[in-house]
Amino acid sequence: MARVVFPEHLLRHTGGQRELELFVDNYRELLAVLEERWPGIRGPLNKSAVAIDGQIYQGAFLEPVHADSEVFFMARIEGG
């Protein structure tokens, strides 16, 4: 099962839960599952960046999530 980890600023949307494991095929499905579990979380997730297996995406959508994937949500990075 893919491991999904939330940073501090998202915990208010997950009722304090820091991580969970679930089966999905891609990021779009992951979002749908999380929204079903914690209605309203989609907005803040869409404003976050996400790292899937070490690769940072700003605005992921169809990126695959494998059974052994690690998914980390994190703050978006801008830059100068």
Binding site: E8, H9, R12, E70, F72, A75, E78, G79, G80
Partner: protein
């Protein structure tokens, strides 16, 4: 990644395509456009750091001969908070209120009204005729005082974001960010040495030499054309449309050449005002800031207070690290405390850490991005703490960093595991560098520090067109701040297999090319470069198809070699190879002009790490610091145009040295910046610096066709720690606060 292929032009250092115009004075920068029938605008700025605006009366100004328009906050729509300005981030309501104050002036220099008149002189006189009633409020200037429970509030609607529960009372703390892992207590208990410190750094400015400038013209149909110096004209268009409540399609933005930005030109200041003035006046309006306005009302980066505690075992292994950050946002939210929190421990493999960051409103200019925004302030503290640990353990500072260095597979403090990174390679390169092996000169001190920046990808577009003679035009949408046109030409020439000179790159306006996010985040060579490479691959596919049609063979029987279509090995066709020029010449018969395009949201930007070290000498009579030598070593992934990569490293080092030694915003008790000019805001000049030696490390980024990581931001991070540690080495006294200006060094020497 096209690994280990022989590159023909990538990695060479040809002259940039826009070079001749820039050494002859032909290149047009932000202030260089004048239009027929043009008016000149000026902005009225708050004389108070904190005041309620009770009334703005423009009537006397408007009645003056030669004044064609005047605007104040009331002329701009009010935006709801929470609307984020596209990818460039930031709350649009805050940006809008920064562009023109509404109910409150939040810093000295905050725009309150603006006029357009037939000349600058008349515009200046009209500013004097504008009547503003202020209710002056006490300014909040110190970040720690601003955080106190009884502090004067800048914004009664500011409820700290990022807490697990929304607080019931407003405060000056706009946001809180936290990262944690492991068991801090156990970590510190396992430590043989523990160091601790508090480090303060005042606000500093990006210091680009070109002041903000723009010219806007709105016609009777409401269509606006805006010419301005910007790091991203597409994002400027989006922000302006939102702030004015108009349609994106009604705005055309043309990016002039840009005289430096370093992050400070990723956000609008003048453009919505110029458009509004032009609309009211029915004539073009030019707005150019003075240097004083640039200091008072644009940039800077956050002033900060950072507390760090680090524990390590005798062998140098860090057992626990804890940090607390408070970053000034200025009068409106938007401080880079998130990246400050995420970067402070990023170079190191840590089991136990906690870092908490606070973004705090104070009555100073709203901060803007500045090169690796947020990282220099926090990483300075960590790099100084590591230096103290190395001293206590009598360990070489490079060995200490190597002992703890993050590597491929290390879980970054901000979450994910690192893909291949070059931090260890940088440390190893430093250990072998002749400058490091050399003795520290008599009386001098040496300092070492690491740097890091995430880098970003995001959306870019590119189009490649083949002219009738086979010459190549690349169109993209990222303003060229430091030679990016040359890098695009190199990547296009490499991909297409043609000489560099055959390719020209142009930066299109918002209507002549597809969306490109700002030139920032060290993304241009990475993301837009990737789009250019893809567009060239599109061209190659098209050329192969046309060669196949010409020869009457299948598409997959054609190969592309050195800019020429040739039959694939084993294909038995008696044909002549077709060069790009041949294919272009026969284009009318094979399907018309040859065009390639690509658009993408580039993922997988690679983090870039660095090690810098320097030898400094302190004059104990004057407190002045002399930089004897400076060495910057950085992982570029792949240097497309190595001379411009070196230039980024050297320029970032110089900026960081200036920040460490001299640059700071100095305020009086009323919140008025006392040094708003280049004479007193002292940036490094040529005689302040030695040659800056560079070594480019190349650990390719697997996500880019040529391995590019992005290099523009990391260079400013390490110099702060380098200077602090070298001064410590030279005088035997640790100075925690920056800048280490002569008076501060003398005070430290006196106290010792």
């Amino acid at each position: 990644m096209a690994e280990a292929v022989d590159l023909r032009v990538v990695g060479t250092t040809p002259v940039r395509p826009d070079g001749v115009d820039k050494v002859t004075g032909r290149a047009q920068f932000g202030a260089d456009l004048n239009m027929p029938n043009m008016l000149h605008g000026r902005i009225l700025r708050s004389p108070h750091a904190h005041a309620r605006i009770k009334r703005v009366d423009l009537s006397k100004a408007l009645a003056m001969q030669g004044v064609y328009a005047a605007v104040s906050g009331a002329d701009f729509p009010m935006l709801a908070s929470g609307e984020v300005s596209g990818e460039a981030g930031g709350d649009l309501a805050d940006i809008a209120r920064n562009v023109m104050a509404r109910d409150k002036a939040l810093y000295h220099g905050h725009a309150v009204a603006a006029v357009a008149a037939t000349s600058l002189e008349v515009a200046e006189q009209a500013l004097d005729a504008i009547e503003v009633d202020y209710e002056v409020l006490p300014p909040v200037l110190d970040v720690l005082e601003a955080m106190a429970a009884d502090a004067t509030l800048l914004d009664e609607q500011c409820f700290t974001k990022g807490l697990s529960e929304t607080p019931d009372k407003p405060s000056n703390i706009a946001a809180m960010v936290k990262l944690a892992r492991g068991d801090l207590e156990a970590g510190f208990a396992a430590a043989d040495v523990v160091v601790e410190g508090e480090y303060r750094i005042p606000m500093a400015h990006q210091g680009y030499i070109e002041p903000h400038a723009c010219t806007a013209t709105v016609n009777e149909e409401g269509k606006a054309t805006v010419w301005c110096c910007t790091q991203g004209h597409f994002d400027f268009r989006t922000m302006t449309a939102h702030i004015l409540g108009c349609k994106i399609a009604d705005l055309k933005f043309i990016a002039s050449e840009i005289g430096g930005g370093f992050g400070g030109k990723t956000v609008v200041y003048l453009e919505p005002v110029a458009v509004m003035l032009s609309k009211k006046a029915g004539r073009p309006v030019k707005l150019v800031m003075t240097r004083e306005e640039v200091f008072r009302a644009t940039g800077p980066t956050s002033g900060s207070v950072v507390r760090v505690k680090v524990g390590a075992r005798k062998d140098g292994r860090i057992t626990a690290a804890k940090a607390w950050l408070a970053y000034e946002a200025g009068g409106l939210a938007g401080a880079p405390v998130g990246p400050g929190v995420m970067s402070i421990f990023a170079p190191y493999d840590l089991d136990n850490f906690l870092v908490e960051g606070y973004e705090v409103l104070v009555n100073k200019p709203k901060v803007a991005a500045y090169r690796a925004p947020g990282a220099p302030q926090s990483m300075h503290a960590m790099e100084v703490a590591l230096d103290d640990i190395a001293r206590q353990l009598d360990m070489d500072p490079l060995d200490l960093r190597l002992r703890n260095a993050a590597d491929e597979g290390t879980q970054a403090p901000y979450g994910p595991k690192f893909p291949p990174i070059g931090f260890k390679a940088c440390i190893e390169a430093a250990k072998k560098h002749p400058n490091y092996l050399a003795q520290v000169p008599e009386g001098a001190g040496r300092g070492v520090a690491a740097g890091f920046w995430f880098n970003i990808g995001m959306q870019s577009s590119a189009e490649v067109r083949i002219n009738e003679d086979g010459s190549v035009v690349v169109m993209e949408g990222n303003p060229d701040i430091g030679g990016s046109r040359a890098s695009m030409c190199l990547m296009a020439a490499e991909t297409l297999g043609v000489p560099y000179e055959q390719v020209k790159t142009y930066v299109g306006d918002t209507e002549s090319t597809g969306y490109c996010m700002v030139t920032g985040g060290s993304r241009t060579t990475f993301a837009t470069g990737m789009a250019v490479v893809r567009a060239c691959e599109d061209i190659i596919a098209e050329c192969k198809a046309r060669a196949a049609a010409t020869w009457g063979v299948d598409k997959d029987q054609v190969e592309w070699q050195d800019g020429t279509a040739v039959p694939a090995p084993g294909v038995n066709a008696d044909v002549n190879p077709l060069s790009l020029a041949d294919l272009a010449a026969s284009a009318s018969a094979t399907g018309g002009p040859i065009l390639g395009k690509a658009s993408l949201n580039a993922q997988g930007a690679g983090a870039s790490f660095s090690i810098n070290f320097a030898d400094l000498k302190v004059d104990k009579e004057t407190g002045a610091v002399e930089v004897l030598s400076y060495t910057a070593i950085q992982d570029a992934g792949k240097a497309i145009h190595p001379a411009y990569v070196e230039g980024q490293m050297q320029g970032g080092a110089a900026q960081g040295i200036g920040w460490a030694l001299n640059e700071e915003y100095i305020y009086d008790q009323d919140g008025v910046m006392e040094n708003a000019g280049f004479l007193d805001y002292r940036m490094p000049v040529a005689s302040d610096l030695p040659m800056i030696d560079t070594e480019i490390v190349e650990v390719p980024n697997p996500s880019h066709p040529y391995g590019v990581r992005g290099v523009g931001e990391t260079p400013i991070v390490a110099p702060l720690g380098v200077a602090a540690n070298a001064v410590r080495d030279a005088i035997g006294i640790r100075i925690n606060d920056l800048p280490m200006s002569p008076p501060r060094i003398l005070a430290a020497l006196d106290a010792a």
